[in-house]
Subunit: 386 residues, 4 copies
Amino acid sequence: MIAINTLQTLFIETRARTETLCKPLEIEDYVVQPCLDVSPPKWHLGHTTWFYEEFILKHHKPNYTLFHEDFAFVFNSYYETIGKRVVRNDRGNLSRPSVAKVYDYIHYVTNELKELLENEVSKEIEHLLLMGIHHEKQHQELLMTDIKYILGNNPLLPKYNDSFVEYPIQKEKQDWITIEEGIYEIGHTNQGFCYDNELGRHKVFLNKFSISNSLVTNGEYINFIEAGGYKDFNFWHADGWEWVKQEKMTQPMYWHKIENDWYYYTLQGLKKVDASAPLCHISYFEAFAYAQWKGHRLPTEFEWEVAQEKFNWGTRWEWTESSYLPYPNYKKAPGAIGEYNGKFMVNQKVLRGGSVVTAEKHTRPTYRNFFQTNLRWQYTGVRLAK
Amino acid sequence: MIAINTLQTLFIETRARTETLCKPLEIEDYVVQPCLDVSPPKWHLGHTTWFYEEFILKHHKPNYTLFHEDFAFVFNSYYETIGKRVVRNDRGNLSRPSVAKVYDYIHYVTNELKELLENEVSKEIEHLLLMGIHHEKQHQELLMTDIKYILGNNPLLPKYNDSFVEYPIQKEKQDWITIEEGIYEIGHTNQGFCYDNELGRHKVFLNKFSISNSLVTNGEYINFIEAGGYKDFNFWHADGWEWVKQEKMTQPMYWHKIENDWYYYTLQGLKKVDASAPLCHISYFEAFAYAQWKGHRLPTEFEWEVAQEKFNWGTRWEWTESSYLPYPNYKKAPGAIGEYNGKFMVNQKVLRGGSVVTAEKHTRPTYRNFFQTNLRWQYTGVRLAK
Amino acid sequence: MIAINTLQTLFIETRARTETLCKPLEIEDYVVQPCLDVSPPKWHLGHTTWFYEEFILKHHKPNYTLFHEDFAFVFNSYYETIGKRVVRNDRGNLSRPSVAKVYDYIHYVTNELKELLENEVSKEIEHLLLMGIHHEKQHQELLMTDIKYILGNNPLLPKYNDSFVEYPIQKEKQDWITIEEGIYEIGHTNQGFCYDNELGRHKVFLNKFSISNSLVTNGEYINFIEAGGYKDFNFWHADGWEWVKQEKMTQPMYWHKIENDWYYYTLQGLKKVDASAPLCHISYFEAFAYAQWKGHRLPTEFEWEVAQEKFNWGTRWEWTESSYLPYPNYKKAPGAIGEYNGKFMVNQKVLRGGSVVTAEKHTRPTYRNFFQTNLRWQYTGVRLAK
Amino acid sequence: MIAINTLQTLFIETRARTETLCKPLEIEDYVVQPCLDVSPPKWHLGHTTWFYEEFILKHHKPNYTLFHEDFAFVFNSYYETIGKRVVRNDRGNLSRPSVAKVYDYIHYVTNELKELLENEVSKEIEHLLLMGIHHEKQHQELLMTDIKYILGNNPLLPKYNDSFVEYPIQKEKQDWITIEEGIYEIGHTNQGFCYDNELGRHKVFLNKFSISNSLVTNGEYINFIEAGGYKDFNFWHADGWEWVKQEKMTQPMYWHKIENDWYYYTLQGLKKVDASAPLCHISYFEAFAYAQWKGHRLPTEFEWEVAQEKFNWGTRWEWTESSYLPYPNYKKAPGAIGEYNGKFMVNQKVLRGGSVVTAEKHTRPTYRNFFQTNLRWQYTGVRLAK
């Protein structure tokens, strides 16, 4: 375990960063929920705060007084163990508690926790706090993707700020890295923090394979579009093709064709698409279809984990061909904490890597992110294998 | 026509009242749209302002500069004639323009109009301005019903203020007023302001009928509930019964049964239901079912108009049995103004009267309000006939 | 009341006609339900038979044995009073009872009723039998419209037979009939059979109006289409315009544009549209839009009833501007029979007249048919007024 | 390849068996489609016939005349390559072609193929024919599950026949079979017929595991129900729990609780549930929840394939924990044949084994069946692992 003063520092820094990320927002931006997958920023603030209150303060701080007895109801997410769940759809209808009140809640809980940490605490509290911090870091990423969705779907296309770079230059010339057939070990060694879904380090047998040293670029994807990629069912799964037709998909999320040029909404506002930057905001269905068109495939999560030390990664969450399943001997933790990962292990795909909005030190080579196959508001990208 | 200085006063008073109504709101309350029929307060402010800009300033003030070129898109409602319509569902996703910006818009347009009115203006402008003022008064009513919906559906049940009386005492002892058979004249005489749907004053033949001098009370409606009114299809239209079953209806909107007592959310917060106050927030389906159960019926809009001078009215919009149809020789006005009323003349019921949130001098004996048969977030009530 | 031997004859003829109408069908045609509004022919046969069994034999024939105890469940329609309703949507999933079994049911019930009628029967039975016969005549009409829908939506477009004429020649040269202002009497005099919704003969005041001596033709409607009638919201109700956009409406039901010519599916198979024949299979929304475009309007049901003796009618059910509402002093009959009409008196429009598939002697000048505003699989047409 | 006379015999036997399976049906049973996943028996007959016509006769028999030019449209399934697809939902609305006509089609195509096989044919034709035969065998299984659904959802609960045994006795006493850690080979060796999704025989590394020698029984599953298994979210995936709540799931498909006893609909009619027979008609969600409740898990498809020679199987398709994904080096075949398997490799689970309605010699240890996680009209069961 890490030293308690380091943990306290990490806690304070994490809380501070959440506030920093919200600095460019108007009060109104905290409230809306333009689609079901997006949560209002206010909710992220309340929810990460509630997590500390519910799992640490309420049970481990003597004489702790709840900030507000209804907030557990308002800011719980999917924890069935703890009372009645808020219907997700309703998050965007909550004008109250006000943003000011939520910040009061944040500061109250932060102070109570700082107070608790002034004295030595049990290993259990340390573990729960570390869990809470990583939970908050995870929500920082969602906060940024949700802010982008809220601003990027507003008819006025307001910018977030002038400095956030979402499309960093990718220096590598595309090349293939080859990995030999063999038995490899997969999963976390349990030294330092990780989630339960990374544990159960185990052997897998891999055939020889090659993986690209670089991500698919916007320019390469434009070739796919212009070759009629969205119009030919041959490249798509049956479900993917239904999705293309029903949603009338023709391009990545946030892209706009204005006259004959491609533009995209970025946190810096509307910009011309940079052909050499790595592709972003595509669904698994699109990632798969692109790979089919190119005559290649997506890597499995095991291939990615084995090969990852040989290439740069971290600007895009990378879709893999692997379904999100438990590792051998996976056991979900008892109680509410156990609901964190295990119950989502069906009908989702694993993503590996990290992104330009991932909190510092939040990802690692064994980290397993996961989303449904049609979602694309995260900073998702594609690395090919063959 | 009314004198221009009176008109200017009316304009300024109306604009001021809209701001007064919003005083108790937090910024967050302006933004949300908890259901499709409700519009965010911010939208009402922007829309009523846009109406003056679009129909008066833009065409009748020389060298007028639009406040913002995208606002027409954002704040238009159902006017197909004017550009692309905003999908109604999206109103609650608009965090921008901010509330502060919308108030800037209000003040800009108000000042521009005041400037225009400093000199003599044409009859056409006078007419359009009067139209805009009445349009705003109409939206003041919707603003209040929507604010109630937003606060009354928030899990914290915040109050609007402490003084707003929604359930005034009804002094009349219930009695029947009888009107003799005969030919009566219906509709507006076109002296003073009215909407186009009231014009075409015409004769109707009425049979002898009786109408109640008072509104159905909460207490009477509780009798209906307790007699199993929501469980017996015999009292309902087929469509009404479907609605009861699908929506699992058991009581008026805003009512809560807590232990064994009935409470309702009011603008003053949660209160015990007052049995002697007039019933509110029921749909046409419920009004009809109640009348069936009671062995009576709802009046037609013609019966109501003929009898109305013999009873007190104005706290509830009263459901009638009449479908919303054009009067003989009704002609809709050309262009966008013509979209105001005519295109809704199908599958809606006429309501007569006015309510505790109706703007002063906004209703009159010939006023025809109308809603779909399942809606109940307005201040709707019941007066029986036989 | 009519003499019992006449009644018996009428009963036998009606039953026989139902079988005759089904002659051209394959067994498979009896079973399917291609849309919610259409019932499988087998269901019409079972339902009309069940009506006699339920309301007459079961209660009025001593020692009557039900043909099959589950048939009441299978063949009931919307009678809430009598047991659990079959969800309408399920009618097309019932492969059993087989068609042969349903014909056994028909013959069993017919014979039992004939037996009952061999002796003198009470006035109540006479009334119920007359009700049952008219109920069956009504279903004969629906049977034909549903058969047309089943065949006309089959990709092989099979014909019903070679002789059924749906588009009879209309001899009248279009002209206007004028009716003077005055008080008129409306409704049935209660001499001979009628439905409860026609009773309550009462006075109405009508303004002077004109009504066309002839129906709108296919050719006239083609002019509306070609003038862009389906593309201009100005002619439509707001609900109608939503319907046009959502359902992508561009022409009457059963019409197909093949190369540059208009064709329609008829019971005789696919044919070229006859420009001089009366328009058919349009919704109220379309009827209204056409009238708007033409600068005229639809008649009210009262205007139609007053004027009808001055023109020919009976090939199309004619949409009126009147909503389907109770006449003054309308009382619905107690029990299941009372569900026949009253509970549909909301959000529907009245149609007057009759059609090429209406059973002989089934309609009359006071008959009030009614449908929702978006339906068009009936033989609906348009007569203009001004 | 198998000898041509054997192939011809196999073809004739397979065609004959399809007809035999349909013997107990009424004509009406061939037509209906009570839910989207079920196809009308008539469609299965037409579709398997069309497969031979489209892929063999049309391209490989000189001067072949299509039986009917519209049948390709009517009886195609999901083959995007070949013309416009029939919307699946519509299959149950097709009263025409009649059943008699479909049998004419069957006999015409069978005879044409027999004629073709009288002379020596190319390897390609042999391959396509074998494909067509296995395609038909697969549809024989679906035909039986769809017939069960049609009869088992009819309110009269008609039996299929008296002799079909769906719940055979399972002789084994439950015990665990243990397999050691190691590298194993998975997939088909390409000797004899198999589908493309079984090819690409490859190595996998397996940890030591145990698998049950017997299937979960009805009695064991009743324990799960009575322990509140359907009421405790802890046993379910998040998606599974949503499914339970939305669909109000409380028991396997076809089960009915009558008074205090469990019954199920079988092809022999309604019977009391036999506690010792293997559980059937449960979804993956239920299989997973049962395993969670029991403290065990489902095997992976690799574990199943490695262990299968040590236990009896073949009465139930057995849910595995494996997602349906391509084997390494999987390539889908070009053209329409390539649509058979590859495009479904997302969001489905693998089932291994076979069932009481699987055609003889149609399954094998490497056979990979697959369905969505909520489906249960197939003969699905559960074998536990740990």
